[in-house]
Symmetry: D2
Subunit: 153 residues, 4 copies
């Protein structure tokens, strides 16, 4: 058994395992049961990872054929740089694999990808009550002091 | 003299007035003097507003030929919807025009545009210390409880 | 009854009439019956016209509530210009409305939109046997001498 | 000395050699001297190859550290498929390396990349007088019978 997971782009054959992770992530944010993400959104998001026109990507952490975590990120424009920003959209690791550096490895893999893609910045959002995750985030990034306002349409 | 400003897409001939607003906005966030935004970034951002391939737009508030405010927004993908999200990137009004509904009108104009563009959500970031602006934001949107972590590359 | 059709962006309520035109267009190119375009492609294409992230657009020619023609266009990058190219992807008018300037009005409306979007060029493809259409095309554009090679994946 | 060139994505350190190839390609199409491509276009195109938001890419053929050819390609939407089309924009090999399969290897590398990116089709344009290139193109793709009309703005 390998000591540490490898971080690599998601592949077609990962679909079933990725879906389990994705469902776990969505459940954490309350998107389960009556408020679950619609299956057509999940299908479209999965398709976009493989669509060369879409600047949206997924990496997974794999150990001995088992997926332990996922990270999704995308590039978008900013008015403040020539280069794009990289938005780390989703991060999730299985409960059993927590505290072993998997989340950190996923974030750092996004840093490496975003550097290759000449992005000016990697950023993400987290709920202010997400204390466990924030212990990690405070080690690898800066809490900017910015809050998110939103308005559904 | 008209009572209320009109909100409209920015035009080529607005460049000089837009630049004054843009500089004011950047100064508010400390991007002035040694830390000013590079002129080539401002030039590129301006060009992107008019480039049909770039999903980045600018509206201005105009009253009797004078620009009182600007708002910049862009669309990007999300893993959580078929439709894009609308990121309201920058909002600024001249000191003299504050408290008169200009900021609110600019935000609501973005809501209207984003609805036409079938976006799922409009969102923006603001610093937690930006108390004055937050009075308005709390009226027109929801403070989500999400914080921004970031990492420069 | 109005003399000439108006050219305007497609709207949600045009769907049924647009679909008839789209089917007519596809039939012209042999995409009918067993080789018809899949309904999910048509649904996606329709959705993309209204999606603010997608640089794909549709105009229609309308006369007294009746759609006489459609044109679809999109912007994409080029290695040869800072600005995007505008690809006029599809053009169709009803058989009854031909020879009345509807096709020409649709093409010229794309020129106007593409100019606003600062595109460097509008271009399109037509089959070398499409003699009727080429009479019009030779009046409004230049036959470039370039041929299209293609390879399905 | 290696027998065959390797085909790989372009890298920062290739800039000088890539520029020589790019100039040769542009000269072939008459973009030289008074009609040369502006340096800022070349600079932007180069930057776009490395920008993770731009769906534009470059591959080069390298043999023992020497670049023998380039190919540029990009993805764009189509109304006729869910997946994007891959437009093979530019192809060039040094005069000395012609007739040795370099052009074919570059085209086939684009096919492989476009397949990974789930594109529905790879296509390109060539002038009808480009007889030498068409001998190769007729082997690896289909001459579609479509002609290109264009209109500068």
């Amino acid at each position: 058994m390998s000591e540490t997971p490898i971080i690599r782009p998601v592949r077609s054959e990962d679909h079933a395992q990725w879906l389990t992770l994705w469902d776990g992530y969505n459940e954490f944010y309350g998107r389960v049961g009556a408020t679950a993400l619609k299956p057509e959104i999940t299908a479209m998001t999965w398709a976009r990872f493989f669509d060369g026109y879409e600047p949206m990507h997924a990496l997974v952490a794999e150990q001995d054929g088992v997926l332990l975590g996922l990270v999704h990120y995308l590039y978008h424009r900013t008015t403040l740089a020539l280069a794009p920003y990289c938005y780390l959209h989703d991060l999730f690791t299985t409960p059993a694999s927590r505290g072993k550096g998997v989340g950190r490895a996923l974030i750092e893999a996004v840093y490496a990808k975003a550097r290759e893609a000449r992005a000016a910045r990697v950023y993400w959002l987290t709920h202010n009550t997400n204390a466990t995750a924030r212990v990690l985030y405070d080690k690898v990034a800066e809490e900017s002091g910015f809050l998110v306002y939103r308005h559904p349409l």
